[in-house]
């Protein structure tokens, strides 16, 4: 059970190194952990899921609107089934709220039958068109002007943070090495006589591996080029999102999607499993892979659209504005390719559906590794993991008398807005994959994530975090 954050990397040669500890990289690591392999994940950030994976729309998709026959369509559908089952087993909060794809003008209404037909081909036979009366009956706070909607009952909301952390936790417990703060500089062939494989030069020294998996997200094209390929270019597509406070949750019952256009899937309004409401994302193609700031223009556009979709939303308090970068490419599908001669698998161009598809991607990549010559050995079942519940649809520690009776720390609230107890913060800090920052602690507990943003609890949460860091430093 090894997570390292500093110092030289271990000697010897791994069977597989996965570059990138996002939701895809950690899912692959978890899948590989089922096999008797020496596996490592190297990650530039100080935490898992710290780039694209932390800032998505948190939806467990059915894939109803994917391009039928594409790799993405297949992996989203398969991944949805796998992740839904895994979430139940692991305690990852999921709420099957369903989606309504709302038509606001005649042109959009005219597009619904084709979308319904596509949904059928994508394995969602229960998607159906409903009229305005039913739309307003089911979504009474919707703004005026909705003409009809495509009802997609299978769409769910999920906690993306717990998903990534659950994969990483299970992988690490099963023996995978996770090397954080470990930025990949370049890749070379291991010199002759030292086995056929890769030598990775990182910010923490060199590490060797027989097989390499590139799950570097926004930087997957850069890694791919370092291996001599020119198959795709990642153009970061910024998505700004606004999170509204808990009182907004009563205004929205479904994931409210717009009818997609050539420019993307458009701005949605969706509940979150934490009891908030999300508005976004924008879709801005950028050059800068670090441009995760929000902008005045982006916020204004979102508020304007949000006011039309659910007018009451705009009067509610905003608890967060954030921006994520999606790894968009010039292709309309995932870019997953095996290069058996190089013992190398590219997992690029994974868009917002990557969260849903993650487990299917992992299984597929494992097959590709076997096809490239990696002897997987006999698989075994992983020790199940039970993640702390961050979802409002399930009992939280502060509501559980038996838990508090057994450990009173679960009865002492530290973060009042999000109702996070000292017991939960203690557990997260002592967990197998501990947070590298206060933001990481927030993604594990929700502490400091509420309407006051630390006015009440910020100093105490930081104190608890620093104490733990000081203990660990000795």
């Amino acid at each position: 059970m090894t997570v390292t954050t500093a110092g030289e990397l271990p000697d010897g040669t791994y069977d597989v190194v996965v570059v990138g500890a996002g939701v895809v990289g950690t899912a692959i690591a978890r899948e590989l952990a089922r096999h008797p392999l020496r596996t490592a994940v190297v990650e530039a950030a100080n935490d898992v899921g710290d780039a694209t994976s932390k800032a998505n729309t948190a939806i467990l998709h059915t894939g109803f609107d994917a391009v039928p026959g594409s790799l993405e369509s297949r992996l989203v559908r398969e991944g949805q089934r796998r992740l839904a089952a895994y979430a139940t087993e692991s305690g990852i909060p999921v709420e099957p709220v369903g989606a309504l794809l709302v038509a606001w003008d005649e042109e959009q209404r005219a597009a619904l039958p084709a979308l319904a037909e596509k949904a059928g081909r994508n394995g969602c036979p229960d998607a159906r068109i409903i009229g305005a009366d039913e739309v307003y009956r089911r979504e009474p706070h919707l703004g005026p002007g909705a003409l009809a909607a495509l009802d997609v009952p299978g769409e769910s909301i999920i906690c993306p943070w717990t998903t990534t952390l659950s994969y990483a936790t299970q992988a690490v417990r099963a023996g995978v090495d996770l090397h954080l703060n470990c930025r990949l500089h370049d890749v070379s062939r291991t010199p002759d006589g030292e086995g056929d494989g890769h030598s990775l030069r990182t910010s923490r020294g060199t590490v060797r591996t027989r097989y390499l998996v590139n799950a570097a997200g926004l930087h997957s094209d850069t890694v791919d080029r370092a291996l001599g390929h020119d198959d795709f270019t990642v153009t970061p597509r910024r998505g700004q999102l606004i999170v509204f406070d808990k009182f907004a949750r009563d205004l929205v019952r479904h994931i409210l999607l717009p009818v997609p256009t050539a420019l993307g899937k458009g701005v949605l309004v969706a509940p979150t499993v934490y009891g908030n409401v999300l508005l976004g994302p924008t879709a801005e193609d950028l050059d800068d892979k670090a441009a995760t700031g929000s902008t005045a223009g982006g916020i204004a556009v979102l508020r304007e659209k949000g006011r039309r979709i659910v007018p009451g939303l705009i009067d509610e308090e905003v608890t967060a504005v954030y921006a994520g970068l999606r790894a968009a490419t010039e292709h309309d599908d995932f870019q997953i390719r095996a290069h058996p001669g190089q013992r190398y698998i590219t997992v690029g161009g994974i868009r917002s559906t990557g969260l849903t598809a993650s487990m299917a991607i992992a299984a597929y990549v494992t097959e590709l590794l076997a096809g490239a010559g990696l002897g997987l050995g006999e698989p075994r079942d992983l020790e199940p993991v039970r993640m702390p519940n961050l979802g409002e649809a399930f009992p939280r520690p502060y509501q559980r008398a038996e838990l508090i009776a057994a450990d009173p720390e679960y009865g002492v609230l530290v973060c009042h807005c999000e109702r996070v107890t000292r017991g939960e913060i203690r557990d997260a800090l002592a967990g197998p994959v501990p947070p590298g920052s206060l933001d990481g602690l927030r993604r594990r507990t929700r502490a400091r994530g509420g309407r006051c943003q630390g006015f009440y609890c910020g100093a105490e949460v930081r104190e608890l975090f620093d104490e733990r860091a000081e203990v660990q430093r000795g």
Partner: protein, 409 residues
């Protein structure tokens, strides 16, 4: 698994208002004060400066907790009220487990908080080093930690100058204060001392356009009224003021809120629209000084005692509201035949500087009161208007409206 019991009065929040209420309820029977923090006192517990009578914040807290205890109130800390189980029944969580407590009267005294960066929709990155005054003061005064090395303070109302003192005391250099208004809104002596002696520049008519930096704040972009932008290098930014009532519990209980203050709408006896539910202190009105919140608590206690003795809950109340440029008025309900407002005055806020404005109160086109303010009405600071006219309100009439006729600067 939830233990149930009853008390006479349940006070939620042990800040100045809640403690002062409890201190005057010695004759009310069983009085319990619930505080979610580990220590009672509310905001003053981390205000290590004067301004609390002749005391500092923590000294004032000791006085208030002593008075509440001597009145026989049971003061419980680290107990969180998580919701309502009935009109006068609250659910709680603490290390002792889950409870359900029913009272004959509930007093909400949950206070106010500063709106953080996200609620102010300030664009940019999300680095460390972004504070409110509340978090800053707790960091420095309760945890003895350094907030940073070079700061910008957003806001120029009285609390901003508290933030300045805390920062300077912690050895933090202050690059600038920034306010979107044309002038500071604090005491003249504070503002002059900060600008001239401590040499902290105040940028007026300016806003924060963007936060910069990845893991740690590296600077802010300030935008002036004429559109000019400039970067100020800093590793710390403190968003001060812009107080909002912490109204979650009130709102969850269906208590009617006032759109101006966003706290519960109350009458002059601190009665909300829900029978048996009172509200006092800064939950009612952004942030007033702690001594004012405590005085309200004392007055609310008198109303609670009358309620316990069987005084009827008013059925008919006349709403009170303001018109632009006035921001809000408190209290927001007039009960015909009820007591005068606290100290015979209504509290008001303006959204703009108003030089000696004429204030007019009218109902259905009939002028009830006209008064010229002897001083400038300043945003983010309350001013008082006489309530001597409440007896003239038509009990069957419409909303009572406050307007200001003024020269604005």
């Amino acid at each position: 698994m939830r233990s149930e019991r009853t008390v006479d009065v349940l006070v939620v929040g042990a800040g100045p208002a809640g403690l002062a209420t409890a201190a005057r309820l010695a004759d009310a029977g069983e009085v319990e004060v619930l505080e979610r923090e580990a220590r009672a006192g509310g905001i003053p517990r981390h205000c290590h400066h004067g301004g609390f009578g002749q005391r500092t914040g923590p000294q004032y807290v000791r006085k208030l907790t002593g008075e509440a205890a001597r009145a026989g109130a049971r003061l419980r800390t680290s107990v969180t009220v998580t919701g309502w189980a009935g009109p006068l029944t609250l659910d709680t969580t603490s290390a002792q487990g889950l409870e359900r407590i029913t009272a004959r009267a509930v007093v909400l005294a949950t206070g106010a908080r500063e709106r953080p960066r996200s609620a102010r929709l300030v664009p940019g990155s999300r680095p460390a080093g972004v504070f409110t005054t509340g978090e800053l003061q707790q960091t420095v005064h309760l945890h003895g930690r350094s907030p940073g090395t070079r700061a910008v303070v957003i806001g120029a109302e009285p609390v901003a100058y508290s933030a300045v003192r805390t920062l300077l005391g912690a050895g933090v250099e202050i690059a600038a204060m920034i306010t979107g208004l044309p002038r500071h809104q604090a005491a003249v002596t504070d503002a002059a001392d900060t600008r001239l002696r401590r040499r902290v520049p105040l940028l007026t008519d300016a806003t924060v356009a963007e936060l910069l930096g990845r893991e740690r704040l590296s600077g802010i972009v300030v935008r002036h009224a004429d559109g000019r932008r400039a970067v100020i290098a800093c590793d710390t930014v403190v968003f001060t003021g812009d107080f909002v009532p912490d109204h979650e519990l009130a709102r969850r209980g269906g208590v009617l809120l006032d759109p101006g203050t966003r706290g519960p709408a109350v009458d002059s006896a601190f009665r909300t629209a829900e029978p048996g539910v009172f509200a006092a202190g800064n939950l009612l009105h952004g942030a007033e000084p702690a001594l004012y919140a405590a005085r309200e608590g004392g007055l609310a206690a008198a109303a609670v005692l009358r309620h316990l003795e069987g005084a009827p809950w008013p059925a008919e109340q006349i709403p009170v509201r303001t018109e632009d440029p006035l921001g809000w008025v408190a209290p927001q309900r007039i009960t015909p035949g009820g007591p005068p407002p606290p100290y015979g005055r209504f509290l008001l806020r303006t959204t703009r500087f108003l030089v000696r404005p004429h204030l007019v109160v009218h109902q259905d086109g009939r002028i009830l009161h006209r008064q010229r303010l002897a001083h400038t009405a300043v945003p983010n600071r309350s001013f008082a208007v006489s309530g001597s006219w409440v007896g003239a309100v038509d009990p069957r009439g419409g909303t009572v409206i406050f307007t200001a006729e003024q020269r604005s600067i």
